[in-house]
């Protein structure tokens, strides 16, 4: 599998070119520091030096100014919404997708509507949801729900449809009922794709949330970076971006751990 090959590859490469990589990484920060703090090529409110950014990031954990919330409050506000919309989308989307993949009739009934809605990017739902639910938590959770549910439906249905006929025949030969086949053959073999869909949705959800918070919010990481921009606090903008990236990466990692625990036979392909 590609992922495994990549890992092996990286481990080998890491040792070999570790030093050059380290130099490159260091020079990234050194150049950043030189252009901003030493040569002052950019105005500090346009492009602050890394030390200022780092200080701003640390300070944000206990200082509420200028946007009225500490970093953890913002993270929590965003995380709560993201997980809420994401969980709802997954809980509804995956079963619908499984039904679509399993039953041809359901597939033919749902797919046309689905094709109609899917090309609309999640961001484009924001205004409609804001009209419906007002500038509150519900609107943003709804945007995330929409973006999650479409990907979950799509991947679950493809995953179920890709179940190998031979496996189904074996189960049939041993007298498995249709329901038994669904739960013990089709769903387990669709799990890797379902998780791929969850992963994609998680990234999309996190990104859409940030965008939604930039447009209308009073808390959250998207609000933090948008507000800091208006206050010309670029150091806080970058600090917020770092936090958005970090939380996104942690969410991805957690999902990966869940996948490793749930999906069996991942390495047997």
């Amino acid at each position: 599998m590609l992922a495994d090959k990549m890992e092996v590859h990286f481990v080998k490469e890491k040792k070999k070119y570790f030093i050059i990589s380290l130099c490159s990484l260091l020079s990234f920060f050194v150049i950043w520091y030189l252009v901003t703090a030493v040569f002052r090529l950019f105005p500090p409110q346009g492009f602050p030096d890394p030390v200022t950014v780092f200080k701003a990031l640390i300070r944000k954990f206990y200082v509420k100014a200028p946007d009225g919330g500490t970093m953890l409050q913002h993270v929590w506000a965003s995380l709560k919404l993201a997980l809420y919309g994401f969980a709802l989308g997954a809980v509804i989307g995956i079963p619908v997708g499984i039904v679509m993949g399993w039953s041809k009739k359901a597939d033919m009934l749902i797919t046309p509507i689905f094709h109609f809605l899917r090309p609309i990017p999640p961001i484009a739902w924001i205004p409609l949801m804001l009209i419906f639910f007002g500038i509150g938590q519900t609107a943003k959770a709804a945007v995330i729900f929409v973006s999650t549910v479409t990907n979950c439906i799509l991947n679950a249905s493809i995953g179920i449809r890709q179940t190998k006929d031979v496996h189904l025949w074996v189960a049939q030969t041993f007298g498995a009922s249709r329901l038994y086949m669904l739960f013990h053959v089709a769903i387990p073999s669709a799990l890797p794709l379902i998780f791929a869909g969850l992963n994609l949705s998680m990234n999309l959800a996190w990104m859409s949330l940030v965008a939604a918070e930039m447009l209308a919010a009073t808390k959250g990481l998207g609000y933090l970076i948008q507000y800091s921009r208006m206050m010309a606090r670029t150091d806080l903008v970058i600090a917020g971006m770092i936090m958005i990236t970090l939380v996104g990466a942690i969410l991805n990692k957690l999902l990966g751990m869940l996948e490793a625990a749930v999906v069996k036979g991942r390495h047997m392909q």
Partner: protein
Amino acid sequence: MKSKNPLLKSKIEPWVYGTISVAIFLFIWYLVSLSDRIGTFFPNPFIVIKQFFLSFTNKIGRDTMPVHILYSLRRVGTGYLLGVLIGIPLGLIMACSKLGRAIFMPCFSIVRPIPGLAWIPLAIIWFGLGEKSKYFLICMTALVGITIQTYYGALFVDKTLIGAGKMLGANKVQLFFNVIIPGAFPNIFAGLQGSFAGAWCAVIAAEMIRSDQGTGWIIFNGMNYANTAQVLVGMLAIGLVGFIIAELLKALERRLCRWNIQGK
């Protein structure tokens, strides 16, 4: 035993189901829009469809719908092209040269996990509220996906093919142009398709944040005036354009990677 294999053909034609499902969808929408509470700000589907066609001649804001779409397309086209022009060479360099990988990979790994839309405030600070910041944002969104796909595509070109090329006496340059690039092409194309969706998403977001025209502006402006019909018309246009371009890219892939599809 009566087999109910899902792969068995159903007797009723698919289009019958399709019509039924769309009809139900529109009917529910219509019913919802009839109710007093929601109907005031939620127009029925026929109004939306009518308005959509009217928008091709009647102006929304300053321009008609085709002009708005052209604005969005110009933005996404420029930013996306920039992303492609940077992303493909960057991916190829990182895949083919170990020195290049050691130099660029760490910096790329910093940029890679940043969600595309999180660049918006920084783009505005650096490039102002005009077109340049939109190009930057779209470029950053498209760049990451294209680079990753190109990188893995070129890195995992079938080793047998490379070996065969070497055995037949190809030098490094020949190997690069005649084996690695064609071998990586399907993956590169997957990257191009995947990042287009992201770029289209980014242009909508950029136009919502600050703009005077474009499809993203249509829905945001509609929201500000609580004009749901305009929002829905804009969403319809966004969905349609995104769909058409995705289909065009797929058709292009079928044409360019015909050998790959036949091989499978």
